[in-house]
Every structure is written in structure tokens, then in C-alpha cells.
Symmetry: C3
Subunit: 428 residues, 3 copies
């Protein structure tokens, strides 16, 4: 449970907010590389942290991420012509380079130097692992580049998608660090989804419906361990890493690819759910990739031509009461992505956390919220660089493993929780 003030603090990320300033310490995913597929291709609207921007890839392949609106009289640069190393406003021909610098104001004499005085807000980007990342903070604090394993493995080992979600980022992310709901909401999927089924560990999920949660601090965030009873004197551990502010991993199942999410605020009532799959040591198979493209696993189907899920709140998420009754889909909703989004969106745009009743399995959520609030305050009050900015903090992995009951998971899983080139995931 949070106070009204705490709930405001932790959910609002627009310019000038404390949580907004925190987010502006990190590289955040903004576009899939294929959204800016070619040099001089169409620009793309980007809304992030309540800022309206436009992205384009210029003639030389450089990426610009600049204010959406022309500095002259304000039309959207989304209508711009992407030509000869710059984006030109079609209204009066003002042209900007990837840094937002105005390089041409045709109505003014070149010798006046007028264009030089005009500069749109722009943010640096970096392209890694099929994702275009942006940093929206002050230049002097620019952090090292993102080093999450999913974006550093060879491209044939990963698959990345995104979908829009119509609620605040935090209630979406809270689903990502809450493994206790898997045994309920996603119970049908564990056995049926081609990207989950057949793993030896699955049996433990249903053998013990009251997992015990333990949360440990990590340099960049948290490790959230859920243990279930296993044979002999062992526990089946599923351990979820959370890297501040909004990266989460899902513990693996068998040799299936690993997956997880980034939860990025669009504005205070919308977010992007980024979903990645990768295998640390081998290419994805053709079948795996096809299953992901079809919306299996953590991915989804879309309204054609958009990143909006096909099953959404306007169609009650294609609720199938018969499937619910038969527990083919526990909530009647198909696919784990939409199972999550349907419930999270049903809470309203920003859930009122003064009315919650939290229990033991919410410890990861409780600790993450407080870590976020503490870091935001330390940043505001003392300029403290928050956890997770350091690229070494990114090099974590989810894992699933059996441990003797007297072994603390942080000890037993120490190596398993590290991302390491050439070493396979630790899984059951």
C-alpha cells in the first residue's frame, strides 16, 4: 500500500517529475530497428516519458530523435521529407539534422546565419540488438551503453517485439516482477505454449501453489526468488532479475529461449511493453521464431499495421468464457501477454495503491517501489546516480534451478544469475 503522494511520485514520469528525472538517467528502448528500416525512409512518431518526438534515419544511416514540432510555426515533423542528411518540414522547407540543428531556412538569406540559431530538442540514440535506445537526460550524466544480454547476443539468437498497453507503466511492470501469478493466470500456457511446454520444471509449478518468495538486493535492482517444494530436500527456485528502472527477466523453462520485458512509459496512462526472447548460446530455431512471430510466448498478435494488440479493451480482449470454464485459458483470455494486459488495464489508467491489500508474494513489488522512490529522492536531493545505470548492472540473467533447502538462493544461484558470453542459461 502506498500513500496518495507516494503513488503520484512513483507513477508520474513527465518532464520535471521526480520519477521522470530518474528515468532520464537511463538508456531506454524507443523503437525497433526495423521501424527505421532504411536510410531516408519515413520518420516515425515517438512518445516517451510524456514527450512528443520524431525519429528518422538519415542518408548516412544516422538516427535522429528530435522534437516532433518544427521550430517555425509548429507543424509535426512526422510529415517531413527525409532527404539529404536531414528532415525537411514540408510547410516552408525548414530542415533539421539528426541533432535537431536547423541547417536550412530557405526564405532567409544563407549569409544571415539564421538557421544556425535554430535548434530543436534532440536526444542521443544508440542501436543495439535490433533496438534503438535513447537517453533523455542531461549530457553530463550520459551513461554507458546498454549491455543487457538480449541485445548483445548475435541477432540470430534473439527475437524482440513491442506492444502498446493502456495503463501506467508501473502496474504493467509490477506484473513482470510478480511470479506468483504464473500458477494462476498463465497456468494454461505453461503446458500448452510451444515456447514453454515440456520443461522438466513445469511440474513444480503445479505441485506447489503456495510458493514462498524471497527478495534479495542486487547491485542494479533486485533478485526475486520464488521457491516451490521439490523432490528430496530440494526447492525448485525461479529467480527473476529486476534492473532499475524497468527491465525484468522471466526464469527459463528447459532449453526454451529466455525472455523478459522492458516497461517504458509513453505518458502517465500508457506504456510500451517490450518483449524479448533470446538464447545465450544458440540461434533460435525456425520453429521458435515462427511461434514468436505468431504471437506465442510473451509476444502477441496485433491490429494490422499497428503495435496495438488484436485483443484489447475495445473487444473485451476476445474473452472466451468456454475456454475459461474448461481452464484451457485460465482467465478466458488467450496468450500470456494479453492475460497480463487485460487485468492490468482493467485496474484503470493509474491504479489507486492506497486501497491495496498486499501479501507475502508481493514483496518483490514492495521492495521495487521503495527502491525506485529512494533512488528518485537521492537523485533529486543529492544528485546520486541511481542503480542500474552502470552497464555491469545489466549483465544479469533469470534462472530456474533446484537447490538444497538449506542453501540461500543468492548463494546457490550466484553464477546462474550472471550473464556470461558462451554459457547457457541455468534451467530445469
Amino acid at each position: 500500500m502506498l500513500s496518495k503522494e507516494q503513488n503520484e511520485l512513483v507513477t508520474r514520469t513527465g518532464p520535471g517529475t521526480m520519477m521522470g528525472d530518474l528515468f532520464r538517467c537511463y538508456w531506454l528502448p524507443v523503437l525497433l530497428s526495423q521501424e527505421l528500416a532504411e536510410n531516408d525512409g519515413p520518420p516515425v512518431r515517438v512518445k516517451i516519458l510524456s514527450e512528443r518526438l520524431v525519429a528518422f534515419r538519415d542518408t548516412k544511416g544516422r538516427i535522429g530523435l528530435i522534437d516532433e514540432f518544427c521550430a517555425h510555426r509548429g507543424p509535426s515533423m512526422w510529415f517531413g521529407r527525409n532527404e539529404d542528411c536531414g528532415l525537411r518540414c514540408p510547410y516552408h522547407g525548414w530542415k533539421y539534422d539528426v541533432n535537431g540543428q536547423c541547417v536550412d531556412v530557405p526564405s532567409e538569406p544563407a549569409e544571415s546565419g539564421y538557421a544556425k540559431k535554430i535548434k530543436l530538442k534532440s536526444y542521443p540514440t544508440v542501436e543495439k540488438g535490433g533496438v534503438i535506445w535513447a537517453y533523455l537526460g542531461p549530457p553530463e550524466r550520459r551513461p554507458p551503453e546498454p549491455a543487457f544480454e538480449f541485445c548483445t547476443v548475435p541477432r540470430e539468437q534473439s527475437f524482440i517485439s513491442k506492444r502498446s498497453q493502456e495503463c501506467n507503466w508501473l502496474q504493467a511492470m509490477e506484473g513482470g516482477i510478480d511470479s506468483s501469478h504464473v500458477s494462476w493466470l498463465h497456468s494454461g500456457n505453461v503446458n500448452n505454449d510451444p515456447l514453454f511446454k515440456g520443461a522438466g520444471g513445469n511440474k513444480y509449478n503445479f505441485g506447489d501453489l503456495a510458493p514462498v518468495f524471497e527478495v534479495a538486493e542486487a547491485p542494479g535492482g533486485l533478485f526475486i526468488g520464488a521457491r516451490r517444494k521439490a523432490e528430496d530436500d530440494q526447492y525448485y527456485w525461479r529467480i527473476t532479475p529486476w534492473v532499475m528502472p524497468c527491465f525484468t527477466g522471466v526464469p527459463p523453462r528447459g532449453d526454451h529461449p529466455m525472455h523478459g520485458h522492458f516497461w517504458v512509459p509513453v505518458d502517465d496512462e500508457n506504456c510500451w511493453a517490450w518483449s524479448y526472447d533470446y538464447h545465450p548460446v544458440r540461434p533460435l530455431t525456425k520453429e521458435e521464431r515462427a511461434a514468436m512471430e505468431a504471437g506465442n510466448g510473451v509476444h502477441c498478435e496485433y491490429v494490422p499495421g499497428t503495435f496495438r494488440p488484436l485483443a484489447n479493451k475495445d473487444n473485451d480482449y476476445l474473452m472466451d468464457r468456454q475456454a475459461q470454464r474448461e481452464k484451457r485459458e485460465y482467465s478466458g483470455i488467450k496468450g500470456i501477454a494479453i492475460q497480463d494486459s487485460s487485468l492490468q488495464e482493467s485496474m484503470g489508467p493509474i491504479i489507486d495503491r492506497t486501497k491495496e491489500n498486499l501479501v507475502g508474494c508481493d514483496n518483490g513489488i514492495i521492495m521495487a517501489r521503495h527502491r525506485l522512490m529512494r533512488a528518485a529522492k537521492a537523485l533529486a536531493e543529492k544528485g546520486t546516480i541511481p542503480p542500474g545505470v552502470n552497464d555491469e548492472h545489466h549483465k544479469v540473467r533469470a534462472c530456474a534451478m533446484l537447490l538444497k533447502r538449506d542453501v540461500a538462493f543468492k548463494e546457490g544461484a550466484r553464477d546462474a544469475l550472471k550473464a556470461e558470453v558462451g554459457r547457457a542459461q541455468t534451467t530445469v
Copy 2:
């Protein structure tokens, strides 16, 4: 005409409002029985008096009407699984019975007794005459069960429907106690609708377009009499009962079934128009029932799969100017339900009653408003139980009859205005 303050008082029915407290003294219709057709069937969202609830029928046929949102972290229980005497949230498996009592929190040890401490808001319901009624007030004031004749006759004698209307409940209900508009807006229907036409009294409606209105206090509300000149020294009286806060009857025509409405606030800008037909002493004929199902009489056609009228403000109510020109439909809109809703919605979500110009035929409306306001104030100031709560107040009937001109309608129609088992309606 009302002052701004009076208009606020009489239209706002959310929690904590004076009119909202008044409504919370009564049983109100919330669902058709067929919306919860079977035990363990799908739950249904209910919004009433600005409260968001969910209804379900459990394994034993009991009906629950509880807070829409799970007490844990707030997803909508509409997604819940209705199973084994309770509704289970698909997120983490919290389960509630029909009283809103939490009966299972799977992640907590049963012996902790945690579930017992969790209870969702819930309201009692009663099922009568094909309608599920709810009482949203304090338990100590729970009134006797509804006893309106339409819900106490055998089911083969009645037909009940509902439609959503996109305006405040009061401007909808004011149409229901305003019989002066029938000669204009509904003039086409009186002669053409299979459920109205052929009655001997219809000729008087068009023989005297300036009826005189007399309003008499009734124990539970008002009797609103409209008299028109008839043969010899008689008047043709049509008398409309209003039972507080929002029940109305329509005077009958010949031996057609009797009908009327309940006008129930969804929130301050939307309401349900409930429409009932029944015959006091005989089953509805197959033809009558078919006509009602087809949207004749006080009923309507729907957008498939919803209770929204097919003719609605997004399609200008399927206005037919040619029909208007030819007076086949006086306003060009088909069917009396939509004729009413089109005009009432056109006033805006909440009509500004400071700008009205009321005349003699609005006396019923004027008196009803003041009765509502007086009752709301007496309840707020002295805790006075308002009229209409007593089930004896429900036992009224509309009637149509010829009376000698020197007879006061309240005397002449005394018996005709009483609902009495086994006695036919008084009609012309």
C-alpha cells in the same frame, strides 16, 4: 425551473450525494434474470448510482453483487472464474463468495486466517418477476421486497426489457410522467403500433390536443391525471402513477398489456430505461410477445450483443425525414422508446433546468421534483424514511377511464389505481 443548486441536488446520485442517499433507500432493478442465466455462468459488470460492481450467480444459484475490483491489487473481477460457490480472481486466485467475503487467498497459509479479514463491498439482491433487484443502502434500513404488479404476476403475463440511455436519469424519467407529449411525439404510434392501436380511447387523444392536467399526491408518489373532453358530459382520463423515486406507469389502451418504466441512474450522465409490459389477468399472446421482442411498444431494437438501442445518437437515431414529413413518425424517429431517448439525449448529458419555461402540463414534473428534493432533505436532516419504500406503495396501476365531468379523478379512479390480483386493468 430550478435553481442551479436544486438541479445539482436532484440529478446527482453518486455515493455521498443527497439524492444518492435517497436512491439508496430503495430496491432498484439492476439486471434481467436472463443476464445471469445459469449457475456458475459468466459474471456481468454492473454500474449503478456511479458505483462499479460485478454480479454473478454461484453454484447454488445465489446471486452476488460485489465490488468490481479485487481487494488485492485491483483487477476487475469481471475476468473472474465463477466456480464452486465463489468468484475467483484469475490474477492470483483470490476468491470471494456472494457476500463479497474472501474465502481463499492461495498464497497465504490457510491457517493464517488471512482470507477472513478481506471482504469486498457487497449488496443484497432479490429476484422477482424476471428482474434482479439490489438494495445499496445501509442494512438497518433495508426495505420490504419490491411488490410492483409487473414483477408479481406469473411470468407468462409479463415481458421486461432494458435499454441504455445517454443522459441523466431525471430528464429521462420526466418524459415518463409527462403524458402531454403523447399527442405530439407519439401520435403516429398510437394508431400504428400493434401494442397500442385499436383501443377505443385513442380517438380522444386526437380529439382534444389541449388536455388539462391534475396531479394528486399518492402515498408513494403521485398520480398524474390528464383529462380530455369526451362525449356527453364526460372526460377521458389517463392517469399515470409515479412511485418514488423512479417508477412510472403508462395508462392502458383497450385490452393491450399495461406498460411502464423504471429509470435507474448508471452515473450522472447515463441511465437505464427499464420497460415492462404485463397483463394483470391473462398470459401475453404469442403475437404480443413477438411484437415486444421486435422492439414495438415501449421496447426497442438493439445494437447486436448490447442493450444499446440500434438507433442512437451516433447515427442520428436513424432519422427519416420522409416519415416525418408524412407524419408516419411525427419526429421522423421510429418507435416511442427512441422518440423519447432522442429528444432527451439531445438536451445534453444534464439539462440546465435554470433555463426552462414550464407550463401547466408540466405540473406532474414540477411536483415530482419537489417531492424528491423534500424527501432527500428530510432523509439527510432527520433520517425520515421516504415515500415509496413501503411495499404497499408499489401496488398501484395506471388506468384510462371515462368519468363524469363533476367527478374528481382521485375519487372516480380510486379503485382503478390499485393493483389487485385477479382484477383486470381499467381501460377504454
Copy 3:
């Protein structure tokens, strides 16, 4: 650049605003004549300057423009029956004549004289050139009738359309007095549109992309001249008249019909773009008229049954990136009307003018804004009748001509800028 207060002043036109009072000094186009095609035909909703009205043509052909809502209990008179010299509310039969005077309240005895006491707000109209004009100001200031050339030539010489635009009127009109954008945004059209192409002057548009702007005061507003270099020691001048508050002309091309616009506020976030074409001395050809009806030139295609453009913000204006790339359509949007509306709507409902960066080619815009603000203040403070009210001020024309470089355009184009019966436009 304007201050926040100036931007509010110049954009808000509802009742009681300074700019609203200014607009209420003028005749404004409200409907096409064909929207009220026949006597006793269907009434039409009119929203203008944030007032909601309904228009109808009565039995004798007179036009009424009255408050949309019945004085009794407030339903929309759009549902009214237009019959026997008046519009009758279908709810209770109250009837109003074209002056808003209530002429019948059926429920009240005729001898009571009640109807006479009821009068709806109404505004005078005049029909000219296929347009119904209204004056919304105080009767004592009623100006002479509109005398713009497009509405005084014989009907076979003109074609008039309108389209809705989803932004404040001023940012729409600013496009109309900004000829510098033609060389960019509309560059494809000058050579391809059947209503523009082939004119001898077109070559100058592309021969000099940095036109110099000179603005001269006119009795009713401004003349905005754009000069481009031409052969010998000549300039190619294109001169745009602006008549207060919102009439603009487009300089002609060859012998094509002349065109221009009226920009009329619906409310503060929507406007009507009226578009006219006419030839001063000859009928439009069949081909010209067909091209206009097909949406060429300054006109557009519509969502069927509406005046909303087919290409609108809900479909990203049917952006065609391939056409943009090939410069067939410079911005990728088809047609100059939608090229303009797409960019103007993309600025948001009311552009924030505190953030602009204006340059030399915006001088016309700067002067028009200040002229509007000065006139609004003079009206408010001293009751000064503003420019453009006088019908002589309407008799202006756009022109395109070659002038010696040492000739001031206001001298050289003096006659060309006057509308004169029987004299062709001055054009190149």
C-alpha cells in the same frame, strides 16, 4: 511570437470574448444554399462562434437561424417539423417562426397569449452567391450586406464548397495569408492540378525559392505581396488580399478561375474552411466545375454524407510516402486543401504561439494578428467599428503580375487589386 494572453485573445471567439465580439461585427458564411435546398425541408444544425443554432427554410422560403434548443424543456429543434411557416418541436408541439418567435404552445389556451412571451435567440441571414450568411451581432450595428466578388458574380461563374477543419480558426487562416509555403507544400500541385497548371507565371515560383514579402495596409485589412525575380528588371508579384476578420484570396494563375477562402470559427478548436472559385467575366467550364466537384484545386473529397475531408487525422491524411519521396506530392498528402489542413491540425487544437520563431515571410501573419487585436481592443474600449465591415472593403481581388523592379506593388497593382464588374482578373 505572441504572449500567452495575446494568443488567448486572438483565438477565442465564444460569446463574451473580445475576439468573439469582433467577429460579431461581420456577416459570416454559415451554410451553403443547397444545405437548405427547399422550403419546409429538413432543418440543419449550425455551430458558429461556439453557439449552437439550427437553421431552416420556411414555407415561404425565408431562412430562420435560431437557438438549437426549444425554450420549453430544451430538446434540440433539429428534430423539429418544418411546417406551415415555422419549426415545430416534436416533443410538445411548440412552434417558432424564422425570427425565433414562438407562435404556438398547444397546451396553453390561445387567448392566454403565452406563446408571444416566448422567443428564441435568432440571427438575421442573407443569401448571396449560393451562400447563407449570418450576422450574430447587436442589431444596431448590423453592417451592409456582403459584397465579395465571388458571391456577386452570376452563379454559373462560381463554385463554392466547405470543409470542416479540426483546429482553431486562426492557424487555419494563417495558412491562407502565407504565400511563402506554396513553393514547398504545394509545389507538386502548381504543375499538376488541372485548376493551376499551365499558367505562364508558374515558372517564377520555382525559379526563385526565396520570395521577398511586402505587406501593405488596405482599408479592410491587408495586401500581402510576394515578389520573385523575373526576366529583365522585373518582379513577378503575387498579391493576396486579406479582409478582416477572415476572408482571404489566392493570386490567380493564367486564366484559371480565381479562388480563396473564408475561415470561420465553429468553436475554439474547430473551424470551417470555406473555399470559393469564380471567374470574373465568364462561366466556369464544364471541365472546371467537374474538377472542383472531384476535389481538385482548393476543394477536397469528403467522407460520404459529411463535410469532413476523406483524408483526415484519423487516417493520417492518407499519407503516401512513395508520392512524397518522388515529390509527386511534396508532403505525401494529396491536394492542397488537405496538405494545409494536415499540417495545421498537426499543430494541435490551438497552437502555442509563445514558442514560434517567425521570419520575414511571416510578416503578413504578424500584421494580421496585430490588426485583429487592435480592432478587438478598439471595439471593446471605444466601440470603434472595425475595418472590413464596410461592403466597399469587400471589393478586392488577388492578382498576379509582372512589375518593374522600381515600382511599389501598391502603386503598380492598384487597379488590379480592385474587384470590378466585367473586368477580368490580372494574372500571368
